[in-house]
């Protein structure tokens, strides 16, 4: 069929029309466009680049950022033998867990509030959460610097309360980093919880109470289990985004907060060691895939990733 279209002699409108007809009727072309276009885009610009760095991880860096194209296991040996990079990854996963444990109760509470509230202000309050998604992460992160600094509002407040007599160090510490990180990720917990809780039928909860359940028990045995899919979605996003975060550790964290993302960037852009940056990236991606695999045995990943939509 393609041989006919290439043997075009004169491009008369009729001819173009018949090609158009043929293309529209061609099933293969149809599949290539829909759903093929999106799959090809991801294949070409994500999976192919990842394959390229798989090969890079078996080369080594020469002088001045060049790459010596000889197969070697040097990068993997460096990762396995040195504890520095293993600790960086361990710490990143730990920060992911801690952030998730902080974001879960606060995000759930707000999501629950928005889902159950009958106030006419609810759409506006919901809008305020959605707006957080729109504001660039770099702004939401650096905005904490003047707040957490020695002369920031938080220290002013603590001094005024008399809780502390000297300004405390929050900025450029792990605490400051986790605070900024948690707040920036909160919408990823609030929105999926909200969209599930708002669909729970009030009458089911009332029924539980009529049958003698206390508020707490009705929540524990009815509302909470029903909102589980929203929680799962929130946990997935919170963990992945915080463990792999770049901006919060760079702008708010201390010198001890070298998480995996900033470390990969340093190795790549400042040491110009592309092969080792590739190795670190792949080890981390492999770990994430492993965690997602365990996750997929308990919950549906596709459904969880859909959760942030309203």
């Amino acid at each position: 069929m393609s041989s006919e279209t290439t043997s075009t002699t004169a491009e008369t409108p009729d001819r173009i029309e018949s090609i158009r007809q043929r293309l529209m009727e061609s099933e293969r072309f149809g599949y290539l466009l829909s759903p093929g276009s999106g799959l090809l885009w991801v294949l070409l610009f994500l999976f192919l680049p990842l394959t390229v760095i798989v090969t890079f991880s078996f080369f080594r860096a020469g002088e001045f950022g060049t790459i010596i194209y000889e197969p070697t296991l040097e990068n993997y040996r460096r990762f396995v033998n040195g504890t520095v990079y293993q600790r960086v990854i361990g710490r990143s996963l730990l920060i992911g867990v801690v952030t998730t444990l902080i974001v879960l109760p606060f995000g759930y509470t707000l999501g629950y509030f928005l889902g159950r509230s009958k106030s006419r202000w609810t759409p506006l309050l919901l809008g305020l959460v959605v707006v957080q998604f729109w504001v660039p992460l770099v702004i939401r992160t650096y905005a904490w610097i003047p707040i957490l600094g020695r002369q920031g509002i938080v220290n002013d407040f603590l001094l005024w309360l008399g809780v502390v007599s000297q300004p405390v160090e929050i900025l450029y510490t792990t605490h400051g980093m986790i605070l900024g990180l948690s707040v920036s990720i909160l919408p990823f917990m609030v929105l999926p919880v909200y969209s599930i809780v708002s669909t729970i039928d009030e009458e089911i909860i009332q029924a539980a109470k009529t049958l003698g359940a206390s508020d707490a028990r009705a929540f524990r045995e009815v509302t909470f289990p029903l909102s589980w899919p929203g929680i799962v979605s929130g946990i997935l996003f919170t963990f992945i985004l915080s463990a792999g975060s770049y901006l919060a550790p760079q702008l708010l964290g201390g010198t001890g907060d070298r998480l995996i993302a900033p470390v990969i960037e340093t190795v790549f852009s400042q040491d110009f060691n592309w092969p080792f940056a590739a190795t670190l990236s792949l080890v981390y991606v492999a770990l994430i895939v492993g965690i997602l695999y365990l996750f997929s045995r308990k919950a549906d990943i596709e459904e969880a990733l859909e959760g942030t939509q309203l």
């Binding site: 759903p35 093929g36 799959l39 610009f45 680049p49 003047p146 792999g244 901006l247």
Partner: protein, 273 residues
Amino acid sequence: MSIREYVSDVGTNWNWHGIKLVSALVYLSMILPLVVVVVNSFSSQRIATFPPEGLTLEWYVEFFRDEMFLSAVWVSTQVGIAAAILAGAIGTLTAMGFVRKPFPMKKALSIALLTPMIVPPVIVGVAATSFFTEIGLDRSIWWLIVMHTLLALPYAFLIVRSRLYLFDETLEDAAMTLGADRLVTFREITLPQIAPAIITAMVLSFVISFGEFTASQFWVQRETTTVPVVIYSMVRTTITPKVNVLATLVLVITMVVPVVGLAIQRWLTSDTS
């Protein structure tokens, strides 16, 4: 409600009041930083403390004289619009294929399509830079457009797909029976129905592109510097009121674009019904 009634209400509904209190705290944490940015953009001090000691518009005047700032806004806007169009179009086509056509391994392929959401942006940046450099492409604005489209695609796809699930396919059958071909049916029946979802997808794609920093830092050059990169490199040293001006303008842009999108959406739906 009198104070006494309020107090007794707190006594009986303490759960709900506790929830309200925590929610208020969460709102404070989300909104306070943005308020500080906006207020400090008017601060008369060079290194701003909050609340500022005096207010001025001087930094706004300086901002509009700064070529670098204006060029960054222009680059980000161009890339954002291009990525929104591409992600909107590809996301729609892909979603239609997933909902309408039979093919094997649908579940696995849809997860593959969502992977840009999960892979840390630093790794996306490193991988793409290695790939493009290896095949010998020079850094250009096209890298940004192509990669921002990749990062926005999963969101665009999900939004359009969830709308398509609700779509009544008998309408299309009716149009085809009446003699419309596939293209006409798509233009006259399908597109008006899913247009609001496509607009939402495009607006979100624009916003994702406009704010993307972590992966893009590897791809920008002097003449293709984007807004988040400018903000980041400035706040790494000191936070001047000028950065706050740029951030405030970005806040305005990221609020206005979705509101315009919403208005277009309203207009489309009122037109078709």
